[in-house]
Every structure is written in C-alpha cells, then in structure tokens.
C-alpha cells in the first residue's frame, strides 16, 4: 500500500499531515475537556427541572452538523466577520476552534449524564461528612471518572473523524492546514483511491492507538 510505504519511509509530507492532525485534534479535545467537564458537572449537579432547557440545547448540539459549525466559524473569522481582524481563517487555530465547538457539547453532555447518575447519593454522603461545595463536586467527578473518560473518548472520535468543518475553515492547504481527513478527500477527488484508502487505514490506526490509551486510562480509573 502506497500510504503505508510513505509511513514506513517517514515521508516528510505525510508526517507533517499526521503531526498536524494529532496537534489540532489533541488541542481541541484538551480545550473541550477543560470547558466541558466542569460545565457537565455543574449541569449534572443541578436539579433537573432547573436545567431542562440548557440540557435540551446541549443534547441538540451533540448532533451539530460539522459543515454548519464550519460555516459559522468561517463567517466569524472571515475578513468581513467580527473576528476577521485576527486573520485566523485558513490556519490551524481556526481548525482547533471548529473542532472544539464540535467536541464540547459531547463531552459536556455525556459528563452531565454521568454526574447525574452518581450525584444524589454521593453528594449526600460527601455533604454529611463535611465536604464543601468544591469538595463535593470533585468527589462526584472522581466517582464518575470512568464515564467521564468515556465522554472524552466519544469527543475524540468526533474530532478525529471530522472533515467538513476543518475543510471549510482550514482550506486544506498543503503544508499548512492539511490533515488526514482532508487529505483523504483530496486523494479521492484526484482518483488516487489506493492512497485515500491507505490514509484512511493510517487514520484508523491512529484512532486505535489513542483510544487504547484512553481505554487504559479508564481501566486505571476503574481499578
């Protein structure tokens, strides 16, 4: 397979694409987890009736079409948009923004569900033993950590497989914003199906490695 041959030969262009894919997705997942876990925890600890509407929005945003996110980020970052002055369009930063927006509702939503499942009994026990509000929240997160890692796994899957948004805001510029998924689209359009399939297999392998690491983290949490 041509793509695997390039991997074995450490082709600089392919290595750059793989590196950028990991960098963009990694930063996006990190940011989404940093915001999504506290948000989901807070929502999960509120009475259900009080957060019914935000929860409904969160569930809806979990199914956000990537092209819609791409379009919105494009409009915000384009020269005429409110953030056009920052000149972020067609940069990896724009891709990170789009992927963070896609992963955030998934991580927050699944964290909310995980916390809600644990909250009442754990919270009552922690409060009755003298824990303050932050200590209670940390205890609930600790007890729900296996499911929260699962939320991060789901978010990771979303961003690693995503192509529509990064294509729109990144532009698939060789050496600058080309990542695995956009490279696959390009090779397919060129008719290089063997290369496209090879790149897809490499992407699948990377996803396997990342998910193995997260699965192990989940196991460590459980044990």
């Amino acid at each position: 397979m041509a793509a695997f041959g390039l991997v074995v030969a450490r082709d600089p262009k392919l290595m750059q694409i793989i590196g950028l894919s990991l960098q963009v997705s990694g930063v996006a997942i990190g940011l989404a987890a940093l915001a999504g876990i506290p948000l989901g925890t807070w929502l999960g600890m509120q009475p259900v009736r009080r957060v019914r509407l935000p929860a409904l929005f969160l569930y809806t945003f979990m199914g956000l079409p990537p092209v819609l996110v791409g379009l919105l980020v494009y409009l915000l970052l384009s020269a005429r948009g409110p953030f056009g002055v920052l000149s972020l369009l067609y940069t990896p930063t724009a891709m990170v923004i789009a992927q963070t927006i896609l992963a955030l509702p998934i991580i927050a939503g699944l964290t909310m569900v995980a916390v809600r499942a644990k909250d009442r009994e754990i919270r009552d026990t922690a409060v009755s033993l003298g824990a303050g509000a932050w200590q209670v929240a940390l205890t609930v997160v600790r007890e729900a950590r296996v499911a929260i890692v699962g939320a991060v796994v789901a978010g990771t899957g979303r961003v690693m497989a995503e192509v529509g948004a990064v294509m729109m805001v990144g532009g698939n510029i060789e050496g600058k914003t080309r990542v695995m998924t956009t490279a696959i689209v390009l090779e397919t359009r060129r008719g290089n199906f063997e290369m496209a399939i090879g790149l897809g297999m490499v992407l699948l392998f990377l996803a396997f490695v990342i998910n193995t690491a997260l699965y192990r983290l989940q196991g460590v949490s459980r044990n």
């Binding site: 409060v127 009755s128 033993l129 003298g130 824990a131 600790r142």
Partner: protein, 244 residues
C-alpha cells in the same frame, strides 16, 4: 437533662402538595441517644435529612445551640459538627482507609494525625485488616461498619443514624450498638437513631420519639414510653401489632 444541641421548632416539610412531616417541638440533647421509631413513611428519614441540612424545612426552624441552622455562618462549620450514616451506605471508590479518612481530609486533617485516627476507628469496627482493601468489594455488613467508622472518626456533636444495623448479622449489630453507646457516653455526642427495631430502641435509647404519618404522636424517656405508652398507635407498634 443535658443541654439541647439541636432543637426542632414548629418544622414542617412538604414535597409538592404533600406534607410529609410536622414536628412542633423536639430537643436533642448532648450525650443522649434519641430513638426515632415509626412505621415506614412516617417521616423518620426526612427528619434526619432536615437535621443534617440535606433538606430545608418548608416552614419552621431548626436551632443548633440556639442559632437557626439556615442562618448559621459559616454553614460548613455547622455541617462539620454533624455526621450521618445512611441505611444503604455509599462508599467511595477507593480503599477502606481512604473512605474512613474522607471526612478528615476535607477538614484538612492529614498525615500522621489522620492515620492515627483512622486506624483507631478501623480497630473499633474490627476492620483494621481490611484497611487497604477496595471499599466497593466489601460485604454489606463490612460496608456498614466502614460507614460507621467514617462517621465516628469525626467525633461529631451530632450523629445521625438511619437504620444503621438493618442489614447486619447479630455480631455486627452488637458491635455497632456498642460503638453507638460509646459515642454517646464517651464523647457526649447527641445521637439520633432511626430504627424499626423496637428491641434495639429499648436497648439503646435514652429518649424515644414515635412518628406516625409525619407527626410526633409520643415522646419521652425510653423507659417510660416502653413501659406505659400513652398513645394507642405507639402501643400497637411496640407490641408488634401495627400493620404497615
């Protein structure tokens, strides 16, 4: 009579339109064991949750040494004077030691001081050999003893116990009853013991409160209430004739 640590003053609790508890006056004294009895649905657990500040009363006040608990600041300081053992103990995912040390840790007690207290509490409940065991692998009886150790290690002013021996074998029941007596007598803790078990209430309680359909129908010295209950419902409950 010892000093009242907690006083319930004209408290009622409603869930939606349904009133589940109405208590005009109830005093819980230091160094005494207050047995709260009554059939299922009488409001016993709701009373405990109100006393432990897990619920707010719909009306009325609960006073801690004369001060309204919901106006008490800092509230956490008051919360930390109490500990509760639930009927179905919830242990945290960690070792037995970590579970018993939890309340100390959140109070900032760590290191050798915490270790000494935790080891002492584990010895008292007979679980010292299991200090490194995973809490979630324990049997129901062991879990209940961990929950008791976790509360006792804090030496609270008020110890709230919701059917703490309902799932235990006779040996463990005797062990925990000894610990409850010790907490009350030795530390001057005000103990509130919710129990269905009339014999246990007779063995342990200094004072007895009988709740029925959310209301206190009888209250008094345990010996008095068990010997000559003034209310027909209390009498039926004590004789085991109440169907509920």
């Amino acid at each position: 009579m010892s000093e009242a640590v907690l006083t319930v003053d004209n408290v009622s609790k409603q869930f939606g339109p349904r009133e589940v508890l109405r208590v005009e006056r109830l005093s819980l004294a230091a160094g005494r064991i207050h047995g709260v009895m009554g059939p299922s649905g009488a409001g016993k657990s709701t009373l405990l949750r109100l006393l432990n500040l897990l619920e707010r009363p719909t009306a009325g006040r609960i006073l801690y040494r004369g001060r309204d608990v919901h106006a008490y600041r800092p509230r956490l300081e008051l919360q930390r004077r109490m500990a509760m053992v639930f009927q179905k103990p919830v242990l945290f995912d960690g070792t037995v030691y970590e579970n018993v040390a939890y309340g100390l840790r959140v109070r900032g007690v760590r290191g050798l001081e915490a270790a000494g207290k935790v080891d002492d509490a584990l010895r008292r409940v007979g679980l010292e050999p299991l200090r490194r065991a995973r809490a979630l692998t324990l049997s129901g009886g062991e879990a209940q003893r961990v929950a008791m150790a976790r509360a006792l290690v804090l030496e609270p002013d008020v110890l709230l116990l919701d059917e703490p021996t309902s799932n235990l074998d006779p040996n463990n029941v005797a062990l925990l009853e000894g610990l409850i007596r010790g907490a009350s007598g030795g530390n001057g803790t005000a103990v509130v013991l919710v129990t269905h078990n009339v014999f246990q209430a007779q063995r342990l309680a200094d004072q007895v409160v009988f709740l029925y359909e959310g209301q206190v129908v009888e209250e008094g010295l345990a010996a008095q209430v068990f010997e000559a209950p003034g209310d027909e419902r209390t009498r039926a409950f004590i004789r085991g004739e109440m169907v509920y």
